[in-house]
């Protein structure tokens, strides 16, 4: 990789190792995200994809490895600098994570009020624009508890883009939504990408969603990257785990594995 090419990567993760207590969750994960592309991180439950995301946005520090966002290794930054860097990063959490004690409008306006010195009237207008973008015009004064799940997600998108971030992270945007709302959220991601020219990283296990939005795909399993490439390459992949994922085949256990599992269960009871 020559140095000119390195510049193009807005996010670089190198050899990330994460362990909870003695359990290794991510074991040497590396990935590069180009400026302006949509990267989808695929994987089954418990493969470490949400953990990976939590590290890239600086919520947890890894055991080893580098996470370089816009040329700065965030594992080396102190809280102050990290907080500054995060202002240019938007995150949509799996459970939307709207602040339930304040209205939808205030949720969207909060980063602007705290991080900028804009006048209140300007903030009001910007909040309106962002809510309009996600299709929630006129919902400023609603409380988050008055919104449906899909609308909460949309509000979370509005809040994530309120500071005009360069990078948007989404954790399982369509989890728990019906197919129509999930498709609507995918369209929203495409629309936001077009309008705001953001780099987008989406963590998901929904194949349909991946096919709609992804420029490139990474698949995790057991804390390792088992596939990286474009959608076309993904479909053509002959990696057994990738195929299993595409074909929706359940896990197959051998007789021996089942026997070991049963023994482990019985010997543990004391």
């Amino acid at each position: 990789m020559d140095s000119a090419k390195r510049e193009d990567y807005i996010i670089r993760v190198e050899d990330l190792v994460v362990a909870f207590d003695s359990r290794v969750v991510l074991n040497g994960v590396s990935l590069n995200v180009r400026r302006g592309e949509t990267m989808v991180i695929l994987g089954g439950s418990g493969c470490g994809k949400s953990t990976l995301l939590r590290h890239i946005i600086g919520l947890r520090r890894p055991e080893s490895g580098k996470i370089i966002i816009k040329g700065r290794d965030i594992t080396q930054l102190d809280n102050e600098e990290l907080s500054k860097l995060l202002r240019k990063v938007g995150v949509v959490f799996q459970s939307s994570a709207l602040f339930n004690s304040i209205s939808v409008g205030d949720n969207v306006a909060l980063p602007l009020r705290e991080h900028t010195k804009l006048e209140e009237s300007t903030i009001q207008i910007m909040t309106k624009i962002k809510l309009d973008m996600v299709g929630l015009a006129g919902y400023e004064s609603f409380m988050p508890s008055e919104l449906s799940g899909g609308m909460k997600k949309r509000a979370a998108f509005a809040r994530a883009i309120s500071m005009d971030p360069e990078i948007l992270f989404c954790d399982e945007p369509s989890a728990g939504q019906d197919p129509i709302i999930a498709a609507g959220l995918d369209q929203l991601i495409l629309k936001l990408k077009k309008a705001l020219k953001m780099t987008i990283v989406v963590v998901t296990h929904e194949m349909a969603s991946m096919y709609t939005i992804a420029d490139r795909v990474i698949m995790l399993r057991g804390g390792k990257v088992i596939f990286r490439g474009t959608q076309k390459e993904f479909k053509a992949s002959d990696h057994p785990r990738v195929k299993q994922f595409i074909d929706r085949r359940p896990e197959e256990y051998s007789e021996e594995e089942i026997g070991r599992y049963a023994r482990a269960l019985t010997s543990n009871s004391f």
Partner: protein, 264 residues
Amino acid sequence: MELFFGSIGRRALDFLERIYFLYRLIVDSLYWTFVAPVVGKGLRVGSTFDEMVKVGVSAVPIVVLISLSIGMILAMQSAYQLEQFGATIFTADLVAVAQTRELGPLMTAIIVAGRSGSGIAAEIGTMKVSEEIDALQSMGFHPIKFLVVPKLIALAVMVPCLTIIADFVGIGGGVVIAVFSLDLGFTRYITRTIFALVFKDIVAGLIKSFVFAFLVGIIGCYMGFKVEGGAEGVGRNTTQSVVVSIFLIILADAFFTAIFYYIW
């Protein structure tokens, strides 16, 4: 054998981790309360006032009701003993001193632990479960500054205020019994109360209540941040925050009473 030592080791590590977390919570809170506003990192004044209303103003009715009862109970119990010596007027001394030095601060702190300590733990715990704390951090906000400091300041200001109200109302409760049941006469009872009370009694009570406020706030926040595992975890830690706060309040009460008795 290995299992045995392993479990001891894990428990010790777990314990040390908790102590460290508590230490960080206290140090960060103090930093964001006293240092950060001075160096221009700001203080959330608006939400501090909101918290003051929640913690203080809306607790006034219950504090008044309980203090009135406590004052009346104190007066009746004191009179019951003092009657034997024909010294019922000293009821005024007993009520005033017991209320300002001990029962005013203690009962107020217990009410606040039950009302606000549990509320703080539930609020922060729910926010943690619904990823709101993560969202705060990901937006570049410090959760301590946003959530803990306004609550701590509100408690530190309002609990002593509530204690002053409790002192007055408690003495008022004594007056009610003295006038209507003991025939002591309003003016005489009040004069006796003023004569019996010294400045130190009230200050000692207020110092205690300040410490209690800090304990309720820190324990509530600690239990909130330590919530794990959804709604069940929130419930468990909320209950724990009340039990632990009241326990620590009484320990601290014993400690400070001893200091005031022997040293000051």
